[in-house]
Amino acid sequence: MDFAASLSLVAPEILLSTAGLVLLLVAAWAGDGASRAISIASVAVLAACAFMVAPALCSGAMGPDTVAFSGQFRADAFASFAKLLIYAAGGAALIVAPAFFERVHAMRAEYPVLILFAVLGMGLMVSASDLLTLYIGLELNSLAAYVLAAFLRDDERSAEAGLKYFVLGALASGILLFGMSLTYGFTGTTSFEGIRAALSGTISMGALFGAIFMLAGLSFKIAAVPFHMWTPDVYEGAPTPVTTFFATAPKVAAVALSMRVTLDAFGGQVAAWQQIVIFAALASVIVGALGAIGQTNIKRLLAYSSINNVGFILIGLAAATPQGASAMLVYLAIYIAMSVGGFVAVLMLKDADGAPVEGIAEIAGLSRHRKVLAACLAMVMFSLAGIPPLFGFWGKFVVFQAAVQAGLVPLAAIGIAASVIGAFYYLKVVKVMYFDEPANVAVGKSDWAHQALLAIAALFISPLGYLLTRWLGALADKAAAALFLAA
């Protein structure tokens, strides 16, 4: 593989970084007044990148032709699928931001640049086929994320969120690095392919510890129990557009990266990590559901909801089959839409002065004065609870189906039972909106960009989404096939 071919494979990443640098210069010269224009340019860049990665997904690219830089980077259908989701989520985070930050005069030109670099880091993560690529991508994304969490630097909660995220993220990075060191030490290579080859046969205890430490570090990123503790605080404290971003794109990236690590690098040793993934999946589902009950802040509630959803995604990972991988990707796509819908709806909750409304008690009786918004939020909640005919049900269904076909019937059964607990707090929000005495707090007008985004998300998770199942499933199957061929 010559250098030019490698460069062509990383073209989206080159475009992203170049655009990021150029826009940073624009930001430096034009100042914060240009932030809207830079945001629009960033969305355009993301759209262009999406067009660049889409062909690889549609053609189901896999095999040696997709490997760049002597095995450090892989631009196959799996990476493309994840990148498309990441670009979409990044675009959503860019679109919703200006209206939110401008109200407090905190819209700064660095925001879109940071988002672009974070997206770049995530692109590296999902394309990683080497421990070094993995770590560089992860850190690039994380550093940008720490800054974004504290973006409202004059807001105490935002600063606290950034600091907490940073400290715990550093700890998780340390754990991850330690695991990588162990893995490198016991296999003598950093490339996934090499690790897989070195681990054929019985796994040594050292390599197993390496795998566990790495999984732990990655679990922090995807916010799986017990590495989830930061999630509620950070999601609540971070500015809502940033929370929208956190709940979507990094999840996809980290889940995809975990899939690469477990199914590719440690794909020959499923038994070594399967039990731990099963535990993390069930713990996430249950803790996410239990934690969400009794929350009074809707962002915090959605944070627990994201923990809960990660549990369901991990059920697909525990299956360790191409079908499970495909189910996870389908789930991720639907989850992105539900999360974006949910957080955009939260963004649209404003009081008469335009200040954000986040308390669940304050949206009581929302259905009386904001009918469409309440209906959309209710739809998101029903979808998150996995109630047919909304599209959220399909995601859960394919994941459980994969688990059952992989012989993990008890896991699927417990998962289904635990989703009942989850339904309680989702439905509670609906009940508050529709049946409680109106609090008449969230009466502010919404930005048209928010409305458009919410409409798209709502359309996707509506029963109309089922028209996409065949198409979405085919793409996810191609992506999963590419992942397993690489393995």
């Binding site: 700064r108 940071l114 800054v147 950034g162 197993l208």
Partner: protein
């Protein structure tokens, strides 16, 4: 033999100074212990033949990072006694967890069965560019095989810089900054006036 002795010396000192970093009452002492730990770590690197890394440790960590820490610790007004309260409360649990983890690693990885210590004598597998110096070897790899990742790492540093600026840089309106062009442009007749004070009366400005 002297190498083995040096290894155990450095290793013991790294661990001991690391313990003192967290045990010492005075935060300045903690940073100083940290510097000791870095130096000993550099010594270990020299022992395995990675002299460039050793130099990096001394120059970057000791020379820059630790000194910066020292400044920060001395300048910040942090009530360390209060911070320590939580620390002490959880200390036994922390120690217990650490011990369990260490024991598991030792048992699991089988360090006690690893046999006698072998120092980093190059055998040609891990270091492909043996005929060159350490710096040359690293440079050659960084700018060829790992070019893409090296450039990406550069972007990480850029993001860190952007982050620092975003989070701390403020346009302060209440400070008086020097405006050189304004100073240069200023004419004498704008700056001075002539008055003729009468006897027994001051100047009315």
């Amino acid at each position: 033999m002297i190498q083995v002795l040096a290894f155990y010396l450095f290793a013991t000192l790294v661990i001991a100074s690391a313990v003192f970093v967290i045990m010492s009452r005075n935060p300045v002492h903690s940073v100083l212990w940290l510097i000791v730990a870095f130096f000993n770590a550099a010594g270990l690197m020299v022992l395995v033949g990675a002299e460039f890394i050793a130099m990096l440790l001394v120059i970057v960590y000791v020379g820059a990072v630790a000194v910066l820490f020292l400044f920060v610790v001395m300048m910040l007004d942090i009530d360390f006694a209060e911070l320590r309260a939580g620390f002490i409360r959880n200390f036994p649990l922390g120690i217990a967890i650490a011990l369990v983890l260490v024991a598991e690693l030792v048992l699991g990885i089988g360090a006690e069965r690893a046999g006698a210590l072998k120092l980093g004598t190059p055998d040609g597998t891990a270091a492909p560019l043996m005929d060159r110096s350490n710096i040359e070897a690293i440079g050659a790899l960084l700018y060829s095989r790992y070019l893409f990742l090296f450039e990406s790492a550069g972007i990480i540093l850029l993001v860190a810089m952007i982050g620092a600026i975003v989070l701390t840089h403020r346009e302060r309106s209440d400070t008086r900054r020097q405006n050189i062009s304004k100073q240069v442009k200023r004419r004498p007749d704008e700056a001075t006036i002539n008055v003729k004070p009468e006897v027994g009366k001051g100047v009315q400005l």
